[in-house]
Structure formats: C-alpha cells, structure tokens
Amino acid sequence: MRYEAIVIGVSSGGLKALRLIFSALPSGFATPIIVVQHIGPRSENSWIKLLNESCIIPIKEADEKEKVATGIYVAPSNYHLLIEKDRTFSLTVDERVNFARPSIDVLFESAAETYKEKLIGIILTGANNDGTKGVKRIKECGGLVIVQNPATAESSYMPASAIAAVQPDHIMELDQIGQLLIKITLSANI
C-alpha cells in the first residue's frame, strides 16, 4: 500500500525528537510530513530554522490553501492546521483544543478523514493527552499508528495516553522511526 501522508504530533522536548527522525530521512523521501508541535502563542518560528539545519528535506510553515506536496510542513503557532479533501491546508483560530493551538487532534482527525487508510500518524514525547483522539480516528479510518516508546520518551504522558486508547501498529524508539518510515514508504513505491 502506498501512504499519502504522515502526520506527527509532539509537545515538550519535541525539537530533539523531530531532529532525530528527520535527520534519518533521505533527500528523495517523497511522502509529505505534516507536524504539529505545541508551542506558545507568542513564539516565533525560529525552531523551524533549527530543524532545517539538521535535515535534507525542506521544512516550511504550512500556508492556508497551500497544496500538500513533498516536504515537511509545520503548523504555525496560534493556529489550528487542518487538511481538506482536496489536499490543501486550512488554518483556523478556533478555541484551543486540549489547551493547545495548534492541536494535534485537530490535525490528525482532519487528516484521517481525508487520507483514510493512506495515512501514517505518529505520536512522540509530550505532557498532555492531545493526539489521543486523533490516533483513534486514524485507526478507525484504517490508517497506521506509530507511538514513541513512553519508557524512553522525554515526557511519557502523551505516548502513554495514545497507547491506552488504541493498539498502535508500532511502539518504538526514536531512531527506529525514521528507518521504519523509509522502509514502508519505499516498499510501497516499488
């Protein structure tokens, strides 16, 4: 099966975790990756620049109405990020969800509705239960769920909450996740 998109949710300690995964990906990695990281409403996006330095694939903030293409997109601070059926991004300023804007659930649920079984959802380190409803929806729609091993995550709460709600397809260490992504997206493209 060919996966159309990968969504990743991460909160505290997220930058390090994302770096580890993204630095493993080769330049030809074709599947779009869409990230929600919990960040403060007043934060600038300097972390995107930091992330860009450790990874070959271009990383940018998702623009509203932009078409989802190859590359890594991150949700802008203070906006929810959603994916439309026509594979474009929408941004909203709706209330915070799980005290977060952007919220992982909002991205994951809309991505699940759009990509159905062709979606991979990944929950990484984090200190609240945002993303739990999102992975549930991904599973209901037939997608694949990967969760970082809570035992070795910087903050175990978010991955543990996801695991309590669904049976993930993979529970693994950060350095294995990049390899797995390469394996499943490559084998699907042959």
């Binding site: 509203e64 802008p76 959603l82 439309e84 059926k85 929408s90 909203t92 209330e95 509705e113 159905k116």
Partner: protein
C-alpha cells in the same frame, strides 16, 4: 458508495438546508472546519447522524441558532498579534492623519476586542474624534456582547500585556472602569463605534472606507468565496485606502493581489492603488 462519502454529502445537504431556511450561507466555508464543528455539536447532543442534524435544524429554530454559534468563530482578543498593531501605529496612522474625516470598517468583529483596540490607538494618536468605526458581524449574539464591552479580569491581564507589547505606553486600565471581577470599556471609546449586523458572504458594500480590517475571517472561506469577499472589500475602500488582514492571510490566490501595494508585507497591511 462508502459511508464516508455519504456523510460528506449529508454535510452539503445540511448546509443547503441551513442557507435556504435561515439565510446563513456556509456552503463555501472550509469543509474540514465545518465538519469539525458539526461533529462537535453532534458529540454534545448525542446525535450520531448528520441527516438527523439536518432535520433538527429545519424543525427546531433554537437548535439551528446553537449550530449557528458553533459555525461562527468568535475567538479574539485585544491587540491580538501585537506586531500588527505596532505596524498600524507606525505605518497606517500617518496615512489616516491626512484625512479630515476617517471611516474604518472592522469586518467580522466578533465580540469587538480588536475594534476597541483600534479605538484606543486612534484615541492616543488624537484621531478618534474624527473617526467612525463600523464594526460588523453576522453573529448578533457576538455583536450584543461587543456593544457591552465587558471583559473579565483574567482576560484584562492578557490584554494589558498585549497592549504593552504592541507599543502602548499609557496606563491600559485607564480605558476601563472596574466592577468586581470585570472591566468595562469607557464610554468615550465606545461613542464613535457603530455596531451593525452585516454578513460578508451575502450582504454588499455599504460605505466607502479609509481603512478596512478583516482579520482571521477569510481563512475560513474557500478560494472562490475569498475572491468574492475580496471584491467586496476592494469596492468598499477609497483609492489609497488600507486593508489589514490576519497574519496568515494573503491576497495571493485572489484577483486582487495586483490592485494593492504592500504597506507592510509581513504584517499583512495593504494599500489600494490609485
């Protein structure tokens, strides 16, 4: 046909029903957003079928207005995006100062916080007394709250910080009188604001403005509707008039990107060409 496809169709039918029965048109809104709001209402009411929501909308006006509130986003704050207001002080005020009378339209004002923010800046710049601010929204409930201008102390703390970060140097609390746990905005800031019910999707031009502020409204619209509303905004501005959008909004996908110059590109302030 798969179940998901029919639920998509059911949402379209619900929006048709809503429009034809009540005149509110959400048919060209971001569908992912609308779906999310409807699902949340379904979760609250325990109704698991969009078709049942549709029949309830048609037969139960109270329910329909609840759903209308769900679909209308009223999240706002005073001096939201401080850099934007800093730029208004720096780049817009000098332009406004050249006019003997000033008309500003705040389109989609929700509960009014940003309209009051503009009022404060105008006051501090000595322009308030020659300005009329038209603050409009289609959500009457939000407008009624906007008119009151009452904010909780918890909100006030956030707003005071926003105000300072946006370059405000006066004492923010001087603009309010306090009553128990709430701040009420001064009458002197309210007097030149005209609150009116106006729907950007279905209503038309009503005056010629020196400035239009329409922030975080267009992100909810699809490209066709964005274009239609940009036409309305363009036609409502005098030549040289200023348009202020939300920080993630642009004229990029519309027919109007060539019809403005950029007053502040990053902070989304545009000037209509002569």
């Amino acid at each position: 046909m798969r179940k998901e496809d029919s639920s998509e169709l059911e949402i379209s039918l619900l929006l048709e029903a809503f429009y034809h029965k009540y005149g509110y048109d959400f048919r060209q809104y971001s569908r992912a957003h609308i779906r999310r709001r409807i699902m949340s209402r379904m979760g609250l009411t325990g109704i698991s079928d969009v078709a049942l929501i549709q029949s309830k909308v048609l037969n139960d006006q109270t329910f329909a207005y609840e759903l209308l509130q769900d679909l209308s986003i009223t999240v706002t704050e005073m001096f939201r995006d401080q850099e934007f207001y800093k730029s208004v002080r720096k780049n817009v005020i000098p332009v406004l100062k050249t006019y003997p009378f000033i008309k500003i339209w705040h389109a989609g004002c929700a509960t009014g916080q940003e309209a009051y923010s503009v009022a404060i800046i105008l006051k501090e710049e000595g322009l308030y007394d020659r300005t009329t601010i038209y603050a409009t929204d289609f959500n009457q409930q939000a407008l009624d709250r906007a008119k009151e201008g009452i904010f909780s102390n918890a909100m006030m703390e956030e707003y005071a910080l926003n105000y300072q970060l946006s370059g405000g140097i006066a004492s923010f609390s001087d603009y309010f009188t306090f009553n128990y746990d709430r701040g009420i905005i001064n009458q002197s800031l309210k007097k030149n604001i005209v609150w009116a019910n106006h729907n950007l999707v279905t209503d038309s031009v009503f005056a010629e403005m020196n400035m239009i502020i329409c922030r975080n409204v267009l992100i909810y619209f699809d490209i066709n509707l964005q274009n239609k509303v940009q036409k309305l905004l363009y036609e409502s501005l005098i030549p040289g008039g200023i348009l202020g959008l939300g920080l993630k909004e642009s004229l990029r996908f519309t027919d109007y990107s060539e019809k403005y110059t950029e007053l502040d590109k990053k902070l989304r302030l545009f000037k209509k060409k002569y």
